[in-house]
C-alpha cells in the first residue's frame, strides 16, 4: 500500500463521521471570522436559537471594511460602520475574541492567523473568505467557505465535505534574481488557468518552494483559489517550525518541542501518490504581470500585450477581446511602456514584513514618479509596528508613498481605498477582475518589487531599472 499525501493525513485526522452515501463530517480546529461574511450567519443562529459551539476555537478581526486612514478618522460610510459594529456586537454576544479597528492584534485575517501562531500545522482552518488557502503554507488544511457554512461551523464546529483530489505542483531549481513567490504563483495560475485546480487540493513542492520563507509560501498558497483550488499546502519543515517559535499562540519550552515533533509528521509520505503531478522549472521563471481581467491572464514583464488572434478557440477569443477592451490595451504593446496611475502594495497576498522589506529596498532613495499615487498598507498592526521599528515607514514616506493603517484596503473596493473609473493600477493583490479595485478600475497583478519599481518609473518596471 502506498503512503499518504499530506492532504490525506489532515483529512483522516479530522473525520468525525463518515456515513455511507453522505459527505464526511470534518472537525474544524480554527474558525476565523471577519465582518463581511458573518452577520447573516450570526442572524441565522439567533433565529434558530442556536449557540456558538466552540467560541474558544473561533477568532474574529475587522479587515475588509476598515478605512486605512489614521485611526482618529471615523468610519465615514454608515453601511460599513454598521457592519463593523455588528461584528463587535455579535462577538460579544456569542463570547468570541475579536480584534476591532485599532486593536493591537487587528489586521487582515490571513495575516494575523499565522503571525499570532494560532494557525498551526495539522489543523483544519476555515474562514468565510476564499483566500483562507493562505494558511496551508503552515501545513494546515485551510479553505474558504460561504456564509451558510460559516453558520454551520459556528453551530457545530464541523463541516460536511467531499474529499478533494490531490495535485502536486513541484517547482524545481533556483529562480533568477527578482523572481519572487508572487511570480511563482502567477506562473502556476497562468499554467493551470482559472479552472485547472477545481476539485483539487494543491500541494506545492520542490526545492524552489522549500527555499521560500514562510511569507513567500503564504503568497503561493494564497492564490491557489485563483486556479480554482480551494486549498493549497506546503509540508512542514524547519522553516515552518522556526517561524512559529515564540508566537503568542504556540506553547513554550519543552511543550513547543513536543508540538514541533508532532508537526514534523505533516508531510506527504515519500511513496504517496497524487492524482495529478505538475512540474515547473524555476530557472524558466521571470517577473510576471497580469494583462487581463482574470489572474490566469499572465505575461512576462519583458513581454507584450497579447492579441485575440493568438488564441484559436472562439469562446477564448471573445474572453481575450473583452479583457483587452476593458483594460484599454492594444495588442503588441510592450508591458514596460504602459504607464500606471496607482501602485498598491498590500493585501493578504503581499503585505507581510518580508514584502515590505523587499519593496522598501527598491524605493530607498528614489521618488515616486510624478502623477502616480502609491500606497503601502501593512497587513496587520503587528506588521506595521515591526516595519516602523525597522524604519521602513520613513523609507516609503520619503519616497512619496502613503503609509497607511492595516486592512484589506485597495484589494477589493469595500473601503475608501478605491480606483476611480479608468485608472490603471499595479497591485500586489490577488484579483484583477473587472471593477475589483473600484468600478471601472484596471488592475495588473505584480510582485512587491515590481510594484515598487513601477511606482518609481511610472510604468511597469523591474527593480534593476530603478536608478541607484
Amino acid at each position: 500500500m502506498s503512503g499518504k499525501t499530506l492532504y490525506e493525513k489532515l483529512w483522516d485526522n479530522h473525520v468525525v463521521a463518515a456515513p455511507e452515501g453522505e459527505p464526511t463530517l470534518l472537525y474544524i480546529d480554527l474558525h476565523l471570522v471577519h465582518e463581511v461574511t458573518s452577520p447573516q450567519a450570526f442572524d441565522g443562529l439567533r433565529l434558530n436559537d442556536r449557540r456558538v459551539r466552540r467560541p474558544d476555537l473561533t477568532l474574529a478581526t475587522a479587515d475588509h471594511n476598515v478605512p486605512t486612514d489614521p485611526l482618529s478618522t471615523p468610519v465615514g460610510d454608515p453601511i460599513s460602520k454598521r457592519q463593523l459594529e455588528a461584528l463587535d456586537e455579535n462577538c460579544k454576544e456569542f463570547g468570541i475574541t475579536v480584534f476591532p479597528r485599532g486593536h493591537e492584534n487587528q489586521g487582515i485575517v490571513h495575516v494575523i492567523g499565522p503571525e499570532l501562531g494560532v494557525t498551526q500545522p495539522g489543523m483544519t482552518i476555515v474562514c468565510g473568505d476564499s483566500h483562507t488557502s493562505t494558511h496551508g503554507a503552515l501545513g494546515s488544511l485551510a479553505f474558504g467557505i460561504g456564509t451558510s457554512e460559516v453558520e454551520h461551523v459556528l453551530a457545530t464546529q464541523t463541516l460536511p465535505q467531499q474529499k478533494a483530489k490531490t495535485m502536486s505542483v513541484s517547482v524545481e531549481g533556483t529562480p533568477p534574481p527578482n523572481v519572487s513567490a508572487k511570480d511563482i504563483v502567477l506562473a502556476i495560475v497562468g499554467r493551470l488557468g482559472t479552472g485547472g485546480g477545481a476539485g483539487y487540493v494543491i500541494e506545492y513542492r520542490g526545492d524552489a518552494i522549500r527555499a521560500l520563507s514562510m511569507e513567500g509560501r503564504m503568497t503561493v498558497c494564497n492564490m491557489s483559489i485563483e486556479a480554482g483550488a480551494r486549498a493549497g499546502l506546503v509540508a512542514v519543515d524547519e522553516t515552518t517550525i522556526a517561524y512559529l517559535r515564540g508566537r503568542p499562540g504556540v506553547p513554550e519550552g519543552d511543550e513547543f518541542d513536543d508540538a514541533a515533533e508532532r508537526w514534523r509528521s505533516f508531510v506527504s509520505d515519500d511513496d504517496a501518490i497524487f492524482d495529478l503531478e505538475i512540474t515547473l522549472d524555476a530557472s524558466d521563471l521571470v517577473p510576471f504581470v497580469t494583462w487581463g481581467t482574470n489572474p490566469a491572464q499572465v505575461v512576462a514583464l519583458d513581454g507584450v500585450v497579447p492579441s485575440a488572434d493568438d488564441v484559436h478557440d472562439s469562446d477564448e477569443k471573445n474572453t481575450v477581446q473583452r479583457a483587452l477592451d476593458y483594460m484599454d490595451l492594444t495588442p503588441g504593446t510592450p508591458l514596460r511602456s504602459i504607464p500606471v496611475d496607482v501602485v498598491f502594495i498590500g493585501s493578504c497576498t503581499n503585505s507581510r514584513i518580508e514584502d515590505l522589506r523587499a519593496a522598501a529596498a527598491v524605493v530607498k532613495g528614489s521618488r515616486v514618479s510624478d502623477g502616480v499615487r502609491a500606497l503601502v498598507v501593512p497587513g496587520s498592526r503587528r506588521v506595521k509596528n515591526q516595519a516602523e521599528s525597522e524604519g521602513l515607514d520613513q523609507v516609503f514616506i520619503d519616497a512619496g508613498f502613503e503609509w497607511r493603517e492595516p486592512g484589506c484596503s485597495m484589494c477589493l473596493g469595500m473601503n475608501p481605498d478605491i480606483l476611480t473609473p479608468g485608472q490603471r493600477c499595479a497591485s500586489t493583490s490577488n484579483r484583477n477582475f473587472e471593477g475589483r479595485q473600484g468600478r471601472g478600475g484596471r488592475t495588473h497583478l505584480v510582485s512587491p518589487v515590481v510594484a515598487a519599481a513601477t511606482a518609481i518609473m511610472g510604468r511597469f518596471a523591474s527593480p534593476e531599472e530603478v536608478p541607484a
Partner: protein, 205 residues
C-alpha cells in the same frame, strides 16, 4: 430552505465565460448586514449598459440563467447566490462552476446544472430564437428539458445535494443529529483553545 422539485421558467443567455462572483455582486454591496435586497446589485456594473442581456424586455422575468464556463469563480461571497435568487433566478445552467459558488448555491436552493458547452450553446440558441420558450429543470429526474423543441438532457448532482434540495433540509440540523460523534471527537482532539492565548480584551497573554 424551501424544497425544490421541478422548476419551469424562461431562460436568459449570458454568453460570457469566467464570470466571477465580483461580477455577479460587486463588493460595494457586501457591506450590508441583511440577507435580502441583493437583487438590485446583481451584475450591477453591467446593467448600466442598455445592451446587456438582462436589460432586454424579452428576457424580463426569466428564472433560469444560461451561463458560460467557470461561472462563479473567485470570492466565496454567498451574496452572489442571494443576489441571483433575489433577482428571481431559480437555476443556473453552465458548462462549469466555481467550487465555492456551487456549494453555496446548494445551501440556498439555487439549482446549479452542469451541461456540456455544446448543450449550453444549443440552449442559448433555442432561447434566442424564442425567448418565451419554457425550460424545465427537474431535480427529481435530474433532467433539463425544452418541451416544445423535444430537447432533453440528463445532468448529475451528487445524491446528497439532490436529496437536500428535494427535502429542503437544513444542513445544520442534519449535522447536529451527529452531536454525540462531535462530542466524542472533541474528547480526543488536540485543537488548542484560544482561551489560554488571549485575555478578555483580546490581548495576547
Amino acid at each position: 430552505m424551501k424544497p425544490v422539485h421541478v422548476l419551469e421558467g424562461r431562460g436568459v443567455p449570458l454568453e460570457r465565460s469566467d464570470v466571477d462572483t465580483d461580477q455577479i455582486i460587486p463588493s460595494d454591496w457586501l457591506k450590508r448586514v441583511e440577507r435580502t435586497g441583493f437583487g438590485r446589485g446583481l451584475f450591477s456594473e453591467w446593467r448600466d449598459d442598455t445592451t446587456f442581456v438582462l436589460n432586454q424586455p424579452e428576457y424580463a422575468g426569466a428564472s433560469i440563467l444560461l451561463a458560460g464556463p467557470r461561472f462563479g469563480t473567485g470570492s466565496s461571497r454567498e451574496h452572489a447566490v442571494w443576489a441571483l435568487m433575489d433577482y428571481g433566478f431559480e437555476a443556473v445552467i453552465a458548462p462549469s462552476f466555481g467550487d465555492i459558488f456551487r456549494n453555496n448555491s446548494s445551501k440556498q436552493g439555487l439549482v446549479t446544472v452542469q451541461l456540456s458547452l455544446k448543450d449550453v450553446e444549443d440552449l442559448n440558441q433555442m432561447v434566442k430564437e424564442d425567448p418565451s420558450r419554457l425550460l424545465v429543470v427537474d431535480v427529481e429526474r435530474l433532467s433539463v428539458e425544452v418541451p416544445d423543441a423535444g430537447w432533453h438532457r440528463a445532468f448529475v448532482l451528487d445524491p446528497m445535494t439532490r436529496e437536500r434540495l428535494l427535502e429542503g433540509w437544513d444542513d445544520i440540523g442534519i449535522s447536529l443529529r451527529r452531536e454525540d460523534a462531535i462530542t466524542r471527537y472533541e474528547a480526543t482532539s488536540s485543537a488548542p483553545s484560544l482561551v489560554g492565548v488571549f485575555d478578555a480584551q483580546g490581548h495576547a497573554r
